[in-house]
């Protein structure tokens, strides 16, 4: 790095990175500071064992909502990952270029529709359908369906980007070996793109855990551990949105703590994904 421009560049980059790091550290610090009053061992015990969430009566049992958030996440991923990856594969390897562009545009559109609109659509279209099956309609199932729709673009777009990164020589080699398209995709491209795909799934999971508005409108918001997909549930984010406006003291701190819990969940997911890829070798 002997050239003057490099020196300037690295200083500039360092400054940018430093600013970004500072901002994000501030966000994290804010979260921790607001949650601090309830981060003692005693309080965490309450979160895990209190019976029910009635903050005005000092009952702060968070577990049912944690299960709800996890259940919604799992359901959404179960739907979105296969669909998103399939779309990414189709767009990259099977579709005619024109169709692929339309698909990309479509995914981008799906990603940009506001959560309120998804919530409204879910409430006016999905919930009555589900209610016809089993009351009340606003349920875990509704939340899973709407959320899956919302995170599918993340999986598809990052997946397609990861697939596009697979070195052309690898694909050409496979083709030269006479492999069929299916084998090429399943045996060469997908494994090679595994790193990027998993990263995309983690981002989608993060998005799912952090989504508030749409889930608030269709999930029912009753604090209970879900027993069936038709049960109304309240996820942690919806809880924050519903109660933050009037919460004070420990209650407010507890809400921030649940936000922190969500961040930690994503951290855990990332770590797990990383471990699962150990030994993946040089993967794009």
């Amino acid at each position: 790095m002997r050239v003057a421009s490099d020196l300037i560049a690295s200083r500039l980059l360092g400054a940018f990175a430093g600013t970004a790091a500072l901002l994000l550290a501030l966000v994290l610090g804010f979260l921790m500071r607001e949650a601090a009053p309830v981060l003692s061992a005693g309080h965490v015990w309450h979160f895990l064992t209190d019976d029910g969430w009635y903050p005005l009566e000092q009952r702060l049992g968070l577990l049912p909502m944690v299960w709800a958030s996890l259940a919604v996440l799992l359901g959404a991923l179960l739907l979105a990952v296969p669909l998103g990856l399939a779309t990414a594969v189709y767009e990259t390897f099977l579709a005619a270029p024109a169709v692929a562009s339309v698909l990309r545009l479509g995914m981008g559109l799906l990603a940009g529709i506001p959560s309120v609109v998804y919530g409204l659509w879910g409430l006016t279209m999905l919930v009555p359908l589900i209610a016809g099956w089993q009351a009340p309609g606003t349920s875990l199932l509704a939340a899973v369906l709407v959320l899956a729709l919302m995170i599918v673009p993340t999986v598809a777009i990052t997946g397609a980007a990861a697939l596009a990164r697979v070195p052309l020589p690898w694909l050409q080699g496979a083709s030269a070996l006479g492999l069929s398209r299916r084998t090429l995709v399943m045996g060469v491209a997908l494994p090679a793109a595994r790193g990027g795909i998993v990263a995309g799934i983690v981002l989608a999971a993060a998005r799912a855990l952090g989504e508030t508005m749409a889930v608030l409108m269709v999930a029912g918001n009753v604090v209970q551990t879900p027993g069936s997909v038709f049960d109304p549930v309240r996820v942690l984010t919806a809880n924050i949105a519903l109660e933050m406006a009037y919460a004070t003291g420990d209650h407010r701190a507890a809400l921030f703590a649940s936000g922190l819990a969500l961040a930690l969940l994503v951290l855990a997911l990332t770590a797990m994904a990383h471990l699962a890829q150990w030994g993946a070798g040089h993967a794009p």
Binding site: L109, I113, A156
Partner: protein, 283 residues
């Protein structure tokens, strides 16, 4: 990358059909949602709609001030987030490669923080502490914070996926690090960067909770960056959730938002395309 390896047998065709069906299903649902929005919102559209101020709590009139505020907020967010994220991504991938894991973890964790928390942070830091109050600047900066984790993650993933040989090749040719990054690496990572940008902008334009607390509720035409301004998503939210009889207007605004996203995505795609074409091929 148009390889055409053969579709040999039943298994292959089944594979193709399944994958195609999945893509088709998604596009169908997209069409369903869009159809719902457009059907209910289109009746309110007209040129006047785009140029007038809102009246009657938004149920009549237009959305001109709201469009302007939305673009201003997005502009601030992108102007801050893009350089910061690209710079950080390059720094992480080129100067910190191998040691980037803890940073990646932190970024992913932040991507999982609910947007309402970002809104409260923005309100406490930008609006209160820095004294920006309810303003476009405050909203844009908050959105930038929200976009950073996603942008940095995707860009960094794109950059670190590039073969090391390129960097060695560039050094062997006597290229400066800066020109290597600018002319070879970044253009090659363009698809990833654009993907991240599309997702981040989508998330930002759709954002409501964060903006209610920072750029606010006022639907007047903003006169300065320090003025409060209502974004399209906030407008849609208010009309559908708080204002009686506001559904039609909510859908009309939502339809405009979708068109906006379309335009932004198309531009991002073409910018990415041109960028990628500029690259010097080393492989």
């Amino acid at each position: 990358m148009r390889l055409e390896p053969p579709m040999r047998n039943r298994a292959d065709r089944l594979f193709g059909a399944t994958v195609g069906a999945a893509a088709a299903l998604l596009m169908l649902v997209l069409a369903w949602v869009l159809w719902d929005v457009v059907r209910q919102g289109l009746p309110m559209w007209s040129w006047a709609y785009l140029l007038d101020e809102p009246g009657n709590a938004g149920r009549s009139g237009g959305i001109a001030p709201i469009l302007v505020a939305t673009l201003a907020i997005l502009g601030v967010a992108l102007a801050v987030a893009l350089p910061l994220s690209l710079g950080t991504a390059v720094w992480l991938a080129e100067f910190m490669s191998g040691r980037a894991m803890p940073v990646r973890l932190a970024l992913h964790a932040l991507a999982g923080v609910p947007s309402i928390v970002f809104g409260l942070f923005g309100s406490a830091f930008f609006s209160a502490f820095l004294g920006l109050g309810f303003s476009i600047l405050s909203g844009g900066l908050t959105l930038a914070c929200m976009m950073l984790p996603l942008l940095i993650s995707t860009a960094e993933a794109g950059l670190s996926a590039l073969p090391d040989e390129w960097r060695r090749g560039g050094a062997a040719l006597g290229m400066s690090r800066a020109s290597l990054v600018l002319q070879v690496l970044l253009p090659a990572a363009a698809p990833a960067v654009v993907a991240g940008a599309v997702l981040a902008v989508g998330r930002a334009t759709a954002e409501t909770a964060a903006l209610i607390f920072t750029s606010g509720y006022v639907d007047r035409m903003p006169g300065s960056w320090l003025d409060s301004g209502r974004s399209l998503a906030v407008h849609v939210y208010d009309l559908s959730m708080n204002v009686a009889g506001g559904d039609r207007a909510a859908y009309a605004a939502a339809a405009v938002l979708v068109v906006l996203i379309l335009i932004i995505n198309l531009s991002a795609a073409s910018v990415g395309q041109r960028w990628a074409l500029r690259r010097l091929t080393l492989a």
